[in-house]
Symmetry: C2
Subunit: 124 residues, 2 copies
Amino acid sequence: MRGDSETTPDECAVEIAMEVLGGRWKLAILKRLLTGTHRFGELKRAMPGITQRMLTRQLREMETDGLVVREVYREVPPKVEYSLTETGRSLERIADLLDDWGRWYRERHRPEALGGPADPVTSP
Amino acid sequence: MRGDSETTPDECAVEIAMEVLGGRWKLAILKRLLTGTHRFGELKRAMPGITQRMLTRQLREMETDGLVVREVYREVPPKVEYSLTETGRSLERIADLLDDWGRWYRERHRPEALGGPADPVTSP
DNA sequence: CAGTATCCGGAAAGATACTG
DNA sequence: CAGTATCTTTCCGGATACTG
């Protein structure tokens, strides 16, 4: 997804968005950072499924893409804080909608993936 | 992305959405189908970049995920039409937002990818 | 026309171990 | 604490050829 740089003239811009948001963890990280600045370890603890290597890579890509700011405090022990840029925060609505939609979809199409089914919803 | 079936209890639902919308072509196809029912060949012609194999695969996955309906007319020559389900149409707003955001992001962060830069926007 | 059938390269993702 | 460094696995996406 990243690095194709083909950008055919008639492609619709969702592909640009998917280049930036694609991957398994970007949006999850973004949602975390929407609650405020976080340290690397905090993010890691908050997302048990991700490996250190993946978290580092995703954060660096998001930094390159202008979504997050990485601030290094030259202390011992080291401390690095991540926060969203304005561009990153501009995704809040989309991230929320995707989250809502995902929840709704899971209820509607994957009821087995639920621990205790809540009250069913009929539109997202 | 597909087939992990892990779904850790505390994962946020954006991952569900990304499972369904992920991949390079899903949203582009969805946007096409939002304009109405289309035949396989129409979709293929409308998206010069995609291969037959990919188009078939993406459409089948979207069918499995409950986003599209595939209707086969037993004629000669064969005719197959694809349209969106209600679930598929429920993504319209999100697809539009992603498209808008992608356009805005490209202007703001990748001006070199534009033929003739339009009037700059300051918020998505 | 609308697909399958094969084969393939490379990126994405993960496991594990080590370090300033 | 916050990373690198390797190694391995998975699988996405594409090229090409063939078919009911």
